[in-house]
């Protein structure tokens, strides 16, 4: 190392204010000029001790907590929690509730992908797409508001089903929003995805090879962008995914742009799924009553359940000792892999101006890491 190099080497602390990621997170980077030599993630800003909090609360009370583990995509948490309790306690869920839950999960995935597409483009300086997608995401928030009463945190799925049925005319409005979002996709393409500037910025950035992805335990769109068609919805279908017709889009390049394209294609699939649900959803009750929640004891046992969230494979491991509160709940946040060591590996050797793009292209959710 020459003397000049020594002078040019410096450390940079990025964050913790949303450094290109949906939540408070930070990195300690070593740089030489514009080049990142190494990066160390510094998590914990969003650690609220959810897993421990859950041990101190009644089974029913936790439904108000779990959604907070991932802000942009809260519903897989609710779904996992409800399904884990149902599996341990042997609770049947009415057919209609399964369909509604699937609808909610897909809407949530779309909202999260829109958020991520916009954010991704914004890291390259293309803020207009972010403005568009966030405004379009608001249409989905409005659907959630109508269905659940809450816009961001829905607190809607609970053991035994869901809390409320569709309001009048809800299916029609869901389809309207789907049509609208579908009509917006070409606009997104024109503005960012087919924009040669964006292509140039995103190509070859943060490349994960298929082998790396598998050995690092990457899941979700990030894995599919490397050419592996793995998806919990197909591999281990839950709710009513086995009754729906949809595809798993993949890309092979494994770079930032490929990840963008996978999410863009998944939007189309989700629109397709939502339309099928509205078309096929059976009528009937939406909730099988659980015992008085203040006294409710879930029998001793354990359960491991997983869903495909917008970030990847999202799992809960729950143990009940037969009491009124869960003995232990472990959350396997999908972002735990690509939010920590994958990110550290990709950042090393990249350039500082690409760092935030790499982060956002992985779509890591810090609260999932911190829990």
């Amino acid at each position: 190392m020459s003397k000049i190099d020594e002078v040019r080497d410096y450390e940079l602390f990025i964050g913790p204010n949303h450094p290109g990621i949906a939540g408070n997170y930070s990195f300690k980077m070593k740089l030489r000029g514009d080049k990142v030599l190494s990066a160390k993630t510094d998590a914990g800003y969003l650690h609220r001790g959810f897993e421990k909090l859950m041990e101190e609360r009644l089974f029913i009370q936790n439904i108000a907590i779990v959604c907070r583990i991932c802000v942009p995509d809260p519903d897989p948490n609710e779904n996992n929690y409800a399904r884990a309790v149902e599996e341990i306690a042997g609770i049947e869920v009415p057919e209609r509730a399964h369909w509604i839950r699937t609808l909610v999960l897909e809407l949530s995935r779309m909202a999260s992908h829109l958020f991520s597409l916009g954010g991704h483009a914004a890291t390259t300086g293309l803020y207009v797409l972010a403005n568009w997608t966030i405004a379009d995401r608001d249409r989905i928030m409005e659907l959630f508001e109508e269905l659940t009463g809450g816009r961001v945190y829905h607190i809607y799925q609970l053991p035994g089903g869901v809390r409320r049925d569709f309001p009048d005319g809800f299916g029609r409005r869901v389809l309207e929003v789907m049509d609208y979002i579908e009509s917006r996709l070409p606009d997104y393409d024109d503005l960012a995805i087919n924009n040669s500037l964006f292509i140039k910025r995103a190509t070859g950035i943060g490349v994960i090879t298929k082998e790396q992805a598998i050995s690092w335990g990457v899941t979700g769109p990030n894995l599919r962008a490397c050419g592996v068609a793995a998806d919990v919805r197909k591999d281990d279908p839950y709710e009513v995914y086995d009754k729906l017709d949809f595809e798993i889009p993949t890309m092979t390049e494994g770079d930032s742009y490929a990840r963008m394209i996978v999410r863009r294609k998944e939007l189309v699939q989700s629109i397709n799924i939502v339309r099928q649900i509205i078309d096929k959803i059976p009528s009937g009750p939406v909730w099988n009553k659980i015992p008085n929640p203040l006294k409710w004891k879930v029998p001793a046992g354990d359960a491991y359940v997983r869903t495909e969230s917008s970030k990847g494979e999202y799992a809960y491991y729950m143990v009940s000792d037969g009491g009124r509160k869960p003995y232990r709940v472990h959350v396997r946040g999908a972002s735990t892999t690509h939010g920590v060591h994958v990110l550290e590996n990709l950042l090393a050797g990249s350039r500082i101006e690409d760092a935030s793009q790499i982060m956002f292209s992985l779509d890591a959710c810090p609260p999932e890491v911190d829990r």
Partner: protein, 746 residues
């Protein structure tokens, strides 16, 4: 989408087509965005509908709801004077409170804006007008389909009318374990029942224990305020169930049957263990109790536990009063009654039966021989309608017949009987006679008539329904005119239609329509229109007592103007078993207060209780220290460790008492005042024989530890402060561990 990654430079400029579009995010001038009809906004609470049960606060995930006392609001049956106030700094808008609300009074609106730099304004008291007194449409609302509460009762199995029609076998079969637990699981532990129960029984606590399948804990909780639970588990007038918050929209919890289940399931020989009796120091003073009904027995039990010598005087051959000689066997089997009474005897209460005060024993002698006399002789003299013909030999008083049935004496049972009266005693005699008729004649021909019309009949609805099923025929709303007698034989009862029973001031003043006459046929008439007391045994004393209207003047502890004479039961406050028990208990406390010259009968604050428990720990440590080194190494090690533990616990309690952060909570009122003596009893220094055997010593230690365990267990539930709760939880766990260790050694 450009998968081949050949982009365009020009296409992005297509975005210019939106240049004239209205922006979606900025609204000028500022306006509130309308919300969806199901929006979870600020709460509204219909104060009239709300009963202040606190279930919303209980389910709240973030402790955002606090129940606060509303000035000027009086608590009433089934409603407290508390109402929820919400801290919007903590609320997470999950609406669990809405879905668990017992009355559906709590809902959410579509209002969502509150701007202020004063943090206190975020702590709000929602009423039906909305938080800013601006009307907003309702948002997230309670819905029947998604309500969390179980509104349907577990059905109680009963003998059918055919099965029970000719026998005195108990009708109600009682809950099985599964049924009881299912019923217990419906309870939200609001405590409105406790407020309403005359004896203030720890209902939520024992229901909780039943749900946890911890029957000895249930028994312990029950015996704290009720020494006749088998009786109350069957014939209580269950005012608690009227108050039950689940009853607001559904069927109230079957509290009475749950109590019965718990007590039926505990074998009689375990009662002593459950209640930890022997930590009582004899005080050398004595109390005489006249009458062994519920009030007398209740007073006797608690007085005995306090350390007094108690002697009861009963004129009938068996103790129990009205419970035995009034209530028929099909409602209260004698086995159940005996189980309760035997335990009271076991505690050391002496009951002298076949001893009538005023005849076999002189009242003066009682005054001379005992420090205090408590009279609880009840209402045993039936009242007559005094219509012409009531002096006929075939006109009977219900109460006399009932006691004869209990005694097994022969009574007259005619083929056609008329019963006058609309209360529960009338139902008892009608149903008993119906059984006798069926036994004798194979069919029932019995008429019940009362002044009150069916809707205002004082008897329980279920009693009337069951009597109808058993064949009794009702003619409500008719007043007796005369008993028609021909050739010395009763032909029937002539009645008039009763137009109204009470006048405008709700005074008893029946009005009749004299043109509407009906003869109710029967050859035997039973009068059951009420009873009165017979207190002739008081002799001259009755003139000396100060009166308050028609009743004797008493203070809050039922002490009369002669300080050695206390009074309890129906003769002062009726008219049911549970009131008797409550009055008896209260009188016992008053007697103790008087004889021991006590000031504090109740503890109201955590601090008072904590100082007691500190004293208790000191006591345990000292008494254990005395025996250090005297027993085998195993026990010695345990003793040494227990002494260390006691020191540690003392330190913890002291630290807490001195902790300025906790200080304000120490004066916090207990959810319910606790009987001071209940705690006092545990700190009594017991003189232990120096040569005590190892086993006896261990048993003694076990009892103390168990007592302490019970104390901390209760305290943990009585406070809402987290630090105190944590301390008590810790203390409780320590005691539990010690208990298990001792049990192993035993």
């Amino acid at each position: 989408m450009s998968e081949n990654r050949k982009g365009s430079i020009l296409k992005p400029f297509k975005a210019l087509k939106f240049i004239g579009e209205k922006p979606v995010t900025i609204r000028t001038p500022f306006e509130n965005r309308p919300t969806a009809p199901r929006y979870r906004g600020f709460h509204v609470n219909d104060q009239e509908k709300c009963i202040g049960c606190g279930t919303c606060a209980e389910i709240c995930d973030n402790d955002a709801i606090r129940m606060i006392e509303v000035p000027g609001l009086e608590p009433k049956v089934g409603a407290s004077n508390l109402r929820p106030a919400i801290d919007y700094g903590r609320c997470c808008w999950c609406a669990l409170c809405v879905d668990v609300c017992t009355t559906n009074s709590l809902n959410m609106t579509q209002e969502y804006t509150h701007v202020s730099d004063d943090l206190d304004t975020f702590f709000m008291f929602p009423d039906s007008e909305g938080i800013h007194k601006v009307e907003f449409p309702l948002g997230y609302q309670a819905s029947e389909d998604s309500n969390f509460l179980d509104l349907e009762r577990v059905e109680m199995e009963e003998l059918s009318a055919e099965e029970r029609g000719d026998s005195f076998v108990e009708i109600v079969k009682g809950f099985s374990k599964e049924q009881a637990m299912a019923e217990a699981s419906r309870c939200v532990a609001c405590g409105l029942c406790t407020d309403t129960c005359p004896a203030h029984m720890n209902i939520p606590e024992y229901i909780e224990a039943i749900w946890d399948d911890n029957l000895s804990e249930a028994g312990r909780q029950i015996y704290k305020t009720n020494p006749l639970p088998e009786v109350c588990g069957r014939v209580c007038t269950h005012k608690c169930e009227t108050a039950c918050s689940i009853g607001q929209r559904g069927e109230p919890i079957a509290i009475r049957w749950l109590k019965r289940y718990a007590m039926d399931a505990i074998p009689a020989d375990q009662y002593g263990d459950i209640n930890n009796l022997k930590v009582v120091k004899p005080l050398g003073k004595s109390v005489a109790i006249v009458g062994s009904g519920p009030a007398g027995l209740s007073a006797a039990y608690y007085l005995r536990l306090m350390g007094y010598k108690v002697v009861m005087f009963e004129k009938y051959p068996e103790p129990g009063g009205m419970m035995r000689y009034g209530i028929p066997e099909y409602r209260l089997p004698y086995d159940a009654l005996d189980k309760d009474i035997n335990y009271i005897k076991e505690v050391g209460v002496e009951i002298k039966c076949n001893t009538t005060v005023g005849k076999d024993v002189n009242f003066d002698d009682l005054h001379r021989d005992f420090d205090v006399v408590l009279i609880a002789t009840g209402f045993h003299v039936g009242r007559s309608t005094r219509v012409p013909g009531t002096d006929h030999k075939d006109v009977f008083q219900a109460i006399d017949l009932l006691s004869k049935i209990t005694k097994g004496e022969d009574i007259k049972v005619d083929e056609k009987i008329v019963v006058i009266g609309g209360g529960n005693v009338a139902m008892d005699i009608a149903r008993s006679l119906a059984r006798k008729q069926r036994q004798k004649y194979g069919k029932v021909n019995l008429i019940v008539t009362s002044l009150e019309s069916r809707d205002i009949m004082p008897a329980d609805d279920e009693e009337i329904e069951e009597a109808t099923e058993e064949g009794c025929v009702f003619y409500p709303g008719r007043g007796p005119v005369e008993i028609v007698i021909e050739d010395g034989k009763i032909q029937g009862l002539k009645t008039n239609k009763c137009v109204s029973v009470f006048d405008e001031q709700h005074r008893f003043s029946p009005k009749f329509d004299e043109n509407d006459i009906k003869l109710l046929e029967g050859t035997m008439v039973v009068e059951s229109i009420g009873q009165g007391p017979d207190m002739s045994y008081l002799g001259d004393y009755s003139d000396k007592l100060e009166m308050d209207g028609r009743r004797m003047k008493v203070n809050e502890f039922y002490q009369t103007s002669m300080d050695w004479l206390f009074i309890a039961g129906d003769i002062i406050k009726g008219p049911d078993v549970i009131n008797g028990i409550a009055v008896g208990h209260q009188a016992a406390l008053g007697i103790d207060k008087m004889l021991e010259k006590k000031h504090d009968i109740f503890f109201h604050s955590i601090f008072q209780v904590l100082s007691k428990s500190l004293k208790f720990e000191e006591n345990c440590r000292k008494s254990n220290a005395k025996f250090e080194g005297k027993f085998s190494p195993v026990i010695n090690t345990m003793l040494v460790e227990m002494i260390k533990k006691s020191e540690d616990l003392e330190k913890r309690i002291k630290r807490l008492i001195e902790n300025p952060n906790v200080l304000i909570h120490l004066d916090e009122k207990l959810k319910r005042p606790q009987e001071a003596d209940y705690f006092e009893r545990f700190v009594v220094e017991e003189t232990v024989d120096e040569n005590i055997s190892e086993k006896d010593f261990l048993k003694l230690v076990e009892k103390k530890v168990r007592t302490a365990f019970g104390l901390y267990h209760d305290l943990e539930k009585l406070t809402k402060n987290k630090e105190l709760e944590f301390l008590f939880g810790y203390l409780k766990d320590q005691k539990k561990a010690q208990l298990e260790r001792i049990k192993k050694l035993l």
